[in-house]
Symmetry: C2
Subunit: 798 residues, 2 copies
């Protein structure tokens, strides 16, 4: 089963393809193991064993012997993958770094700060442009598609043979979706879905392989266009967040590793700390472009990612968000021949809610809360169904061609179901002079009327949402809405998790708007005199919020996003109430959709706090020990051996004063990373060579930055037998002041330090500052609150 997990995991392709050293996440501790063994040659069987991870066997041998637990086949979500490495939000304060910082004048820091703002501006601008491109492309292509189908339907309505229209529609959809699905499944599986779980993980500090690559962005953009145009029950908003993040990661580094171009700018930003800050800004810019919600974008970034709130960083994120909305608005205003009119919101436009029509009263509050509860319930149902579906996909639909076929099937079924619903619907509505329907289908309705069901189905989801919010009371009859809700619910649930780039925001809003409007209509019909009830659009909005909240479980940022997208703060309070209720109700049953998918990928995700009941655990119990330490002046051969050793899982090595043969653990004097050692080896910074070649230039921070982030694997570095006898002086390169904790520190305290500072390695020391162990992300993410109190996830090489 775990084998299968691997195949459809976010980073599955890392194991399957690409030459070693390019395409593989090289800071990843578990993968050099695989590639090195491939070069070995004779232990082919073992490779198979390792890559498929016969969990039962491995667990039995490792875990049981250690902890004496009963044998069991661990369930998928009870695992923690060792595949994911951690980002390092902590600066490596070695001598090189400190020297550079000390050399830099105040003006230097000012220039840096200004270039940070410039980068954020660029991120916002490019993200806005991408959003604009996606929007126009979808608009144009979907327009062509709907025109063709509509023409066809109109032709055949008279003469009969609508089944041909059905086939045309289904084939068109499936064909378009196929394109998107193929590029995603075959070229970049990480581009599947909305990308929000992946960005959440990235911001949390997990290094998700290839998530911020240029290729991912290209696949994402093309994929999202094809899936929306292909008529799937998806939105184009979620992927914008991912796109923004990729843009940020690209722009801030001043080069593209994929394109092999280095612009020699922003070199200072080539480290995890700075990059993650910019990715936050990119994600915010994405939200901002998607929903026209700059403040919501900032809050999204903070709610999902930030640990330490820094005011200057927040302002930069805000700036990127602003520029993004601005750019999108500006170019869209040109596209719509209305240049300079900047009052359009983002990709999804909820339309204008006038204050007069949206007033609410005290006695409606309980109704809103009820709707929040319904949203929570339906959201939980959605999540549970999708969870089962994802498990099924993990087991049986893991080959790319199967994934493409599933996507095509869903596209065809979506078209078929839509067509059937429209066909059998007899909800004819008069076509007003100022009708907002883009593609009104007359079908079997009388002249001057149109099929109401078609408004919901025969349309891009964004337009459907808008018409549910704003169409006059009486536009939809209750049966239409009920049927629509039902079918769309299952379609959306089936669609999420396909190998296509697409988001779940809009489908959620659409489902919610449909049942919300239904709720409003029913309310109006049960009360005879209800003047105020007669505004179904209001209930559609509340329902949309409830449903979305029930599925994704964000509160603060989502409130702001909804309010900004609505363009009216009057609804702030009800939306908050609804989102909170939905979250509370939903959380009772199951986690949010993104969290479910993160868990299914066994990502070592750190939550905000350690589990409440974990005070009885101490650093000594959670840490990994024994630790491979390096001497301050170490033999090259030893270093190469340690780096090549597959049993070394850690990427950080405490540097100690002197490793004695005695029992006593050595005193800590620094911390050095695998990536740094690789660079040192590559540049052959050996004590002996320095003596002989005095003219050789000193290694600089630049050399480390040039190698960032794709450090070569140890196998690609040739170290001769002579060189193995040389010594390496790590003093200058190690972080001389790593954060440490005493071994008696409680888990919540360790967790707090680790999370607040975004650490990657935390050294555990005894009362004489001797290295006892090392705490990394997986050691902390392992503990979580289950139904029976504190549970420990099992580590696995998935």
């Amino acid at each position: 089963m775990a084998n299968i997990t691997k195949k459809v995991s976010w980073s599955s392709r890392a194991d399957e393809s690409g030459p070693p050293g390019e395409g593989t996440p090289l800071l990843n501790g578990s993968e050099p193991r695989l590639s090195r063994q491939l070069s070995g040659g004779e232990n082919v069987f073992q490779i198979g064993r390792l890559s498929t991870v016969d969990l039962e066997e491995e667990m039995a041998s490792e875990e049981d012997s250690l902890r004496g637990r009963p044998k069991e086949i661990p369930h998928n979500e009870k695992l923690l993958s060792l595949k994911f490495e951690s980002l390092d939000y902590d600066n490596i304060e070695n001598q090189l770094f400190l020297e550079e910082e000390r050399r830099m004048s105040y003006m230097g820091f000012r220039c840096l700060e200004i270039s940070r703002w410039v980068v954020c501006g660029l991120i916002g601008f490019l993200t806005g442009l991408i959003a604009c491109f996606i929007d126009i492309a979808v608009e144009q292509l979907a327009g062509i598609k709907y025109q063709v189908v509509k023409q066809n339907i109109e032709n055949f309505t008279e003469v009969g043979g609508l089944s041909i229209s059905l086939i045309l529609w289904a084939v068109l959809n499936a064909g378009i979706v196929m394109i998107g699905s193929i590029i995603v499944a075959f070229f970049e599986p990480i581009a599947a879905g909305s990308g929000i779980p992946q960005i959440k993980c990235y911001l949390n500090g997990v290094k998700v392989p290839r998530v911020v690559r240029l290729k991912t962005l290209l696949v994402k953009v093309c994929g999202v266009i094809s899936s929306v145009v292909g008529g799937l029950a998806v939105g184009k908003e979620g992927p914008m967040i991912h796109s923004g993040a990729v843009v940020a990661a690209g722009v801030s580094q001043g080069r593209s590793t994929s394109l092999k171009r280095d612009f020699k700018i922003f070199e200072y930003f080539r480290r995890d700390t700075e990059k993650r800050d910019f990715v936050s800004a990119g994600a915010a810019a994405g939200v901002s472009a998607a929903f026209g919600a700059p403040v919501g974008g900032v809050l999204f970034s903070l709610e999902e990612g930030a640990s330490f709130w820094n005011q200057m960083l927040t302002w930069r994120i805000f700036f990127a968000s602003m520029i993004s909305t601005f750019t999108l608005n500006f170019f869209l205003s040109i596209y719509y021949n209305n240049p300079g009119e900047l009052s359009n919101p983002g990709l999804i436009n909820f339309g204008r809610f006038e204050t007069d029509t949206v007033a609410y009263n005290l006695y409606e509050i309980p109704l809103f809360i009820v709707m929040g509860a319904i949203g929570g319930l339906l959201g939980a149902l959605f999540n549970v169904l999708n969870y089962w579906l994802t498990i099924f996909r993990i087991r049986y639909v893991h080959r790319p061609c199967l994934q493409v076929m599933e996507a095509m099937l869903v596209a065809a079924v979506t078209a078929a179901v839509s067509f059937t619903m429209i066909y059998f619907s007899n909800d004819c509505q008069p076509l007003g002079p100022d009708h907002t329907e883009e593609y009104p289908l007359q079908l079997f309705c009388a002249d001057g009327e149109y099929n109401s069901m078609a408004t919901a189905f025969f349309n891009t989801p964004e337009r459907s949402v808008r018409s549910l919010f704003h169409n006059q009371p009486g536009t939809y009859n209750p049966l239409t809405l009920a049927l629509f809700t039902l079918t769309y619910f299952f379609l959306a649930c089936w669609t999420y998790g396909l190998a296509v780039s697409a988001g779940v925001f809009i489908p959620s809003l659409l489902i919610g708007a449909a049942w919300g409007r239904l709720f409003g209509i029913l309310l109006a019909s049960t009360t005879s005199t209800g003047q105020i009830w007669a505004k179904p659009g209001k209930y559609a909005l509340i329902g949309a919020a409830a449903q979305l909240g029930g599925i994704v479980r964000m509160t603060l940022s989502l409130t702001v996003i909804m309010v900004e997208a609505t363009g009216n703060v009057t609804y702030g309070l009800p939306i908050m109430l609804v989102l909170m209720t939905a979250k509370i109700v939903g959380d009772y049953f199951v986690e949010g959709l993104y969290d479910i998918h993160i868990k299914l990928q066994s990502v070592p995700f750190l939550h905000w706090e350690a589990p409440a009941t974990s005070h009885w655990l101490t650093a000594r119990e959670v840490m990994s020990a024994p630790v491979t330490c390096l001497n301050r002046i170490e033999k090259v051969g030893t270093i190469v051996d340690i780096l090549s050793n597959t049993s070394t899982n850690h990427n950080g090595f405490p540097v100690v004063l002197e490793v004695h043969a005695s029992e006593e653990p050595p005193k800590l004097c620094g911390l050095i990373l695998r990536s740094q050692l690789i660079v040192l080896l590559k540049h052959k910074v050996f004590v002996e060579l320095a003596r002989t070649r005095l003219t050789q230039r000193k290694l600089q921070l630049k050399d480390f930055r040039d190698a960032y982030p794709r450090f070569p694997p140890i196998q690609s570095i040739h170290v001769s037998q002579d060189e193995r006898e040389c010594m390496m002086d790590l003093t200058e390169f190690m972080n001389a002041t790593p954060y440490t904790v005493p071994q008696e520190t409680s888990l919540p305290r360790v967790f707090k330090l680790f999370r607040a500072l975004g650490l990657r390695h935390l050294v555990v020391v005894d009362d004489s500052n001797r290295v006892i162990g090392l705490v990394t992300r997986k050691d902390l993410a392992r503990y979580h609150l289950g139904k029976h109190g504190l549970e420990e996830l099992q580590l696995a090489q998935t």
Copy 2:
């Protein structure tokens, strides 16, 4: 000069009054010194010297000898007061605490979490009620006042002798303001001003004495009513934030020390960590009530206070904000005979901006930016003037009676100036049938007309703002606006810093709205065809944002507050642009108003990051050394002596294995606080007594909580000569795992750890975990970026 500083400082009364042990901030390291010496009796001269702190002499003897610097009389803002202690955001994880946490079941933690939500709900509710009370009281009392004056003016307009009206108005104002000023100046000086700087400091982790006391709240509420009714150029919004914070600090503790009532609830929350979280919620609830901006409130709390962003905490803060707005709206809706209509915003109501009327175009963006720059310039001017004025006040207006007289003078002058302006204004406007003016003054205008200047002056500031935003084009003529801006600017500048409770938000908005409207009118007049220019209300709004931003320099939270108060997100982008421009321009000249006042109080305020150019400083250089350490099992006499020793500035003492007589510093094994030692001494937790009295109950966490936060001073604890010979075992009570840093750690790294975790003490150790020094807040706050690079503030016992 420093002597004078003390007199008007936020906590001046702490030194002047109150019995020792009650009223004095007892965790404060510098004050037991004073009170103990008072009890000493023979060294009266030294007391005088200490309390007045002859800085020149002390600096000359202490600083110069240490650092060999040239003599200079340090300027006020180059000092860092030792008076302010730090809050401890870090849990004291001693054995008692860990045992309690380990005993607690998962359900126990759930209950705690629920009670946190309940407390936040209560905070929101009470804050809303207070806001409602202030609003109604101001409305009623101001109504009576304006009716009386209006009647009087109308009587005398015909017959002449308007000077009597002037006198009536001035005397009324001065009288009302006198009441508010007396209670502030004589009873609770900390209640002066808006309280925002104090709350900023509190959230930053500085213990500002008496800032969250019940008495402060009472004085604040009465003070703000009197100052607004008294016609000063002030608003009632800022003080709401302080009020919310006091409510939070009170409710969350489940008791009132002032009223000597303990409700025996929420005992778990009786520590700095939890209390500060609740105070954040209270401040947010205050903002929320003041501006009807729940999201803005959350952002304010985070922008001003938070270091570590915790999602659950943020939601609770959000909940408190929501409830606060809701409560205020609900009760105001009843007051306005419109029960259940919840669409009113907070205390300040910007009125409804319809989307149609507020559309803006691309070519207006540069104009907005220009307005932002003007706002920044005027804001900087305001701040500089107020800075000089504050210095003047610190020097010459430090006695309470002088302060009251100044407040009365300002009130009278405000009335006189207003009257003069109205009197000489000949801007008569027709009184429309749907006029919004509450108290239209006809004065010398024709029948059916009213004096336009009076709309601005003869009104509560909130109403003036609203009429500047919404009145029809042509309601004000440019001269009126220009004169109004000019006078109100100086009046508001003079008023801020008086010994009255009042905020600067509304005056800022009013000034900005006036010149903004003027800007709009001038713009419309310069362009002949400008159809879109002809909406002065829009420019009034932008001007208001610019002016407020220029004075207080918040960006993100202020944007959201403005948007929420406007009720329309269309203006989001322009407001952001304007606020950013205002901040950038203003920051070029001088800091924000709150920061200026914080600096003038020499508060050890920690900014977001260490100064950029401080990498050359290490922990060894910034730490305080030598440190007074305690043995794990220590003699009571030694502890009493150490606590009574006035040269011990620290409130935290590293606990070490054994203090040898040798040179070598001892190994760290824990950290204990002064407050804990006091409780231990009070309960006589001595090793010997424990042996003899076996039945004596064990000291529990409850005993520490009961004493929190006003721990008795060491002088109040009687320790007999026999007891001095006893031993105390600190093992159980010390925090066994304090955070430590190696001595080579760079200042930014130390700063980051300290700030992110909200520490109070950070132990500096050498490579064998031996105590070398202790870093506290003042050691970090001392370094700041001045005009000539990194500067170091001087510490002083002000």
